[in-house]
Symmetry: C2
Subunit: 340 residues, 2 copies
DNA sequence: TGTTAAAATGTAAGCGCTTGCATTGCGCGT
DNA sequence: ACGCGCAATGCAAGCGCTTACATTTTAACA
């Protein structure tokens, strides 16, 4: 008659190995503080019982989880995947586990996720972008959870960040478009509220337009939620007016792909009839036809540096310093070499 | 002089509200067991202190986490994203949190992740596909963690599954290709070891070939890791021989997109020179040019049903029953309507 | 061989919460 | 006005682990 087999505990292992629970614990966490012979006995008991330490108990006792949390706006598309992958690999190499949650671009969901991750004892947190309620930062401070921002660099922000200058990057790309002879340059932006990346990209686009005397272009902007369909709709919207832009710059690659699709559907040739650009350089940008001119972001490098910085903040209780990374433009088929 | 503000605990709240910790706990977990006046006091204290319950402590005491874990082979591409999204939405609606980990298609990583999730107290687990070491199932049984498999349906398997018949689906698609007049039909498969979906898709492809007297085609198969590049290389590989297949069927859409790219690069027209098919019907399949003929999988439905089934298993300690879902073929441009 | 310090191990006090059970307080019937 | 039953609250025992401190063992030295 087998009794209900509750998962074995440290104590079970200790009993089986004929030692104290403290010794078993040390065996697992600091093997060199235990003599080889004992260690062997204990390990045998662990294996025999199929013991797995209870994480919650360990956390409670040790007040460390070796877990860091990341909250990203979306998992549906690959924008954050590559960087996050690198982040998690680097974390893993340093003995940390990554927990990921997604906020669906909703501030209130993000806040909920932050609390969930903190409650779960995350030793540190990675957030995307700076733009969120001050109260969130207050909370994080009170809970003293080291926090780092990625995908956006802002020197004077409340928490350190590892990222790039979204504004300058977008300005650079816009200048390139202008150089190609375009004068009517519209923009499809993601939702800017609560999203500094989106807002800064719009700002960069405007910067370039104004500097080049294209102020009238600067009103031709549509803001739309994230998604291919949304990008398509926005494109149609911009093309509906009497004056059709000759270039459509999108706040991210996903929107740009939508625009590309819609252009195709509407029988407009890209880049002949209209040039289209994206931002992020996700894998998709190379795959679509025509391939997409976009801003290349150092995803992996960002992920790795973020991991290092965050672990440093966690382990040495240091404040953490911001790092600005460089972006570059990837010229591809969706923007003509020369319009004129 | 402010002392180091440790995060507030239940006791702090209790003290501030002038009640016992038990009352505060009940306020949070069973508000109706506490009289309104007290509840107000307690809630005020909670807010004032910015209290967040310590999850680990709660888990230890209650032995329930209201968390379920899912381990998917990859996050890099969208194959599992849609289904997982639905899974998590349904879970959320039922008061559960989803923790996701990815195994990079490596069995040993998967096992590690399973242990990590179990140690973290996951009340239930969602795994992709049935094919893994028996010892893993032994472990799960001993820890008595309800487990469900998705993306593959196998009635006689050790744990219940919500999925579809990969073999029959692939056979159906292959038959459609044969009907189009193709006789030299090669396959690019994902790695089959430890991946029943991949293996079953290959089996389905072979079934159709053999039934239609195309046995010689059945040797024209390349197995390759997951990824667009890998798909491209596999395509080139298959086209390198003296006899060029007129149709290339891929084990998933990502490989198919790679094949598509390579065909383009090699100057082969799709579907005129070579037809290409995928499997999964991810968003990408509609976006590439030409769009991809593929097997549509009921991602969202699968996710929702999986969530319901798993929660049922967790809450009612029921064994859980398997459900088979239907797939259908999405005919698109990459497979000619009629070759002859 | 006796001392003593260092190494190995054991003891037991929590970590912050939930919950069974004991206690208190209240409204009601008589 | 009294006792009853039930609702509201408090008390305190863990949950499984880590770790400071106490104790025992070992080994090294005179």
């Amino acid at each position: 008659m087998s009794k209900i087999a509750a998962a074995p505990t440290l104590e079970d292992v200790a009993k089986k190995a004929g030692v104290s629970t403290a010794t078993v614990s040390r065996c697992l966490n600091a093997p060199d503080r235990v003599v080889a012979e004992t260690r062997t006995k204990v390990m045998a008991a662990v294996t025999a019982l199929g013991y797995t330490p209870n994480f919650a108990a360990r956390v409670m006792a040790a007040k460390r989880t070796f877990t860091v949390g990341a909250i990203i706006p979306t998992m549906e598309n690959a924008i954050f995947a590559r960087g996050l992958q690198a982040f998690q690999e680097e974390l893993h190499a340093r003995g940390y586990t990554l927990l990921v949650a997604s906020s669906a671009y909703k501030p209130e969901v993000e806040e909920e996720q932050i609390r969930a991750l903190v409650a779960r004892g995350a030793d540190g947190l990675l957030l995307i972008g700076h733009d969120r309620a001050e109260s969130v930062y207050d909370y994080l401070e009170r809970q003293s959870v080291p926090t780092l921002v990625a995908w956006s660099y802002q020197a004077k922000a409340r928490v350190p960040s590892i990222g790039f200058d979204n504004r300058a990057a977008m300005r650079g790309l816009t200048e390139a478009v202008i150089q190609r002879g375009h004068t009517c340059i519209a923009m499809v932006s993601g939702v800017c509220a609560g999203n500094d990346r989106a807002a800064l990209r719009v700002a960069g686009w405007k910067d370039a337009l104004l500097e080049n005397g294209l102020a009238d272009s600067a009103t031709r902007i549509v803001e739309t939620p994230y998604g291919i369909e949304a990008g398509a709709a926005a494109f149609a919207n911009l093309m509906a007016g009497p004056i059709k832009p000759t270039a459509i710059m999108c706040g991210n690659d996903v929107l740009a792909v939508g625009a590309l699709q819609k252009a195709h559907e509407m029988g407009m040739a890209v880049p002949k009839d209209v040039a289209i650009t994206g931002f992020d350089d996700v894998e998709l940008a190379r795959i679509v036809t025509p391939s997409l001119t976009t801003v290349q972001v150092p995803h992996r490098d960002m992920g790795i540096q973020a991991a290092r910085a965050l672990v440093d903040m966690v382990e040495n209780k240091r404040a953490g310093t911001s790092v600005q990374l460089e972006t570059s433009i990837r010229f591809r088929a969706s923007l003509a070499r020369n319009t004129q």
